[in-house]
Amino acid sequence: MRGTLRLVTEGVSDHDHRSDGGHDHGSNGDHDHRHDGDHADLPQPIALRVKAIQSLLIDKGIVEQATLDRIVDTYEHRVGPHLGATVVARAWVDEAFRRRLLTDGTQAVAELGIGGFRQGARLVALENTPAVHNVVVCTLCSCYPSWLLGLPPIWYKSAPYRSRTVFEPRAVLAEFGTDVGDDVEVRVWDSNSEVRYLVVPQRPANTDGWTVDRLASLVDRNAMIGVGRALPAGAAAEAG
């Protein structure tokens, strides 16, 4: 199966491919070896391989450049943790919305104008309480509510997070600075189906009477994955 898509290239070394493509591994991203393809051939630099597919699909009318640009713009500028934060903050201030969110997350976020790119995906909201702490992982790949929180961070897609969270969630939480008492139940959600999960963190103390926007500034991505908590009230000053 591998090696069937080699492209003939000129003037670009394999080294360029590696330095371009290895960012998911953390520190320096270097690959010391590669295993795809026939070593007798010069591997195609990854950027050119992508460009070749893209040109073909556009020329054949299967995709449009404008559509691709719109998707990139959406993830770079429109969707992201701020959307999820608004949902969480709304649930904190609006009891009826909170109940709808916990009953049918897909429907509740649709009320706020947030819809999925892919139909058929379900959203389930998980509420943290003094007795229960929820944390989300996808052990098999990288499932994530990207239409609500943006594309997932590399650590969420990484082997250490995926392998360890189901086995030793408290140790993982501690690495994120989140200590959970023995009396608190930790619920790990392995996101293996087309259901997506949003953690609703506990509302921080001393935030009575705050607006949704101000409360949302306390809710970051880690809190909505469940590896962290909402920021304390004092953090809102600089966040606005």
Binding site: L5, H23, S27, R49, I53, L56, L57, E76, W155
Partner: protein, 210 residues
């Protein structure tokens, strides 16, 4: 399949590395891969399980050596080739072969946007005790190894979802989907924290009465 992607509970991958101020994309080519894949999936031509299936079928060393979007690129290439959108020659040459008829979408599945109701009533209800079947399918599956043979409790019934085993091959058959809770001690033994639990969504095909 029992692929390298099925890593829940494995040891040896080290600490979690968090990149500060991480950008949405790390290279221009990642934008192309991610957006093309988004179109392929949202257009209804492919199931997300086909994306996963192609990634899982790489050899283990390649899977681990590749960056995330390198794995996606591999899958994207397989998808457009298998669907007949492009030919291998066209990919190799980078331009359309006028003699080729590739590009018609006849070989791609048209996925309906929402799950169908599965045939027959659900076999389990909330609070039923179930065992995740011990099975080692060679095809794509979403029953990870670490739950196989373990007993849990159904906490929710969702309705229908395409069976991943078939969806990975581009075939749609919707089955009942359940949320199952496993105690950490059931999964990992007596050393697990007594106050930890694991929730996972499992197709009826993956379950048997316990």
């Amino acid at each position: 399949m029992n692929g390298i992607h099925d890593i829940g509970g494995m040891h040896g991958f080290g600490h979690i590395m968090v990149e500060e101020n991480e950008p949405v994309y790390h290279a221009e080519w990642e934008k192309g891969v991610q957006s093309m894949m988004a179109v392929m999936l949202s257009s209804g031509h492919f199931a997300v399980d086909q994306l996963r299936r192609n990634i899982e079928r790489q050899d283990a060393v390649t899977y681990l050596s590749n960056s995330y979007y390198e794995n996606w690129l591999h899958s994207l290439q397989q998808m457009v080739l298998n669907a007949g959108f492009v030919t291998a020659d066209e990919l190799a040459n980078g331009h359309i072969d006028p003699a080729s008829s590739a590009g018609n979408t006849g070989r791609a599945t048209q996925w309906r946007p929402v799950p169908d109701l599965p045939a027959g009533p659900p076999a389990y209800g909330v609070n039923d005790r179930v065992r995740a079947k011990v099975r080692h399918p060679v095809e794509h599956t979403r029953e990870p190894r670490y739950v196989r043979g373990r007993v849990g409790v159904v906490t929710h019934y969702y309705g229908g979802e395409p069976l991943p085993e078939l969806a990975g091959e581009g075939v749609r058959q919707d089955v009942h989907l359940y949320r199952v809770r496993f105690e950490a001690t059931e999964l990992w033994g007596p050393d697990a924290h007594p106050n930890d639990a694991l929730y996972i969504d499992l197709c009826e095909n993956y379950l048997e009465p316990a």
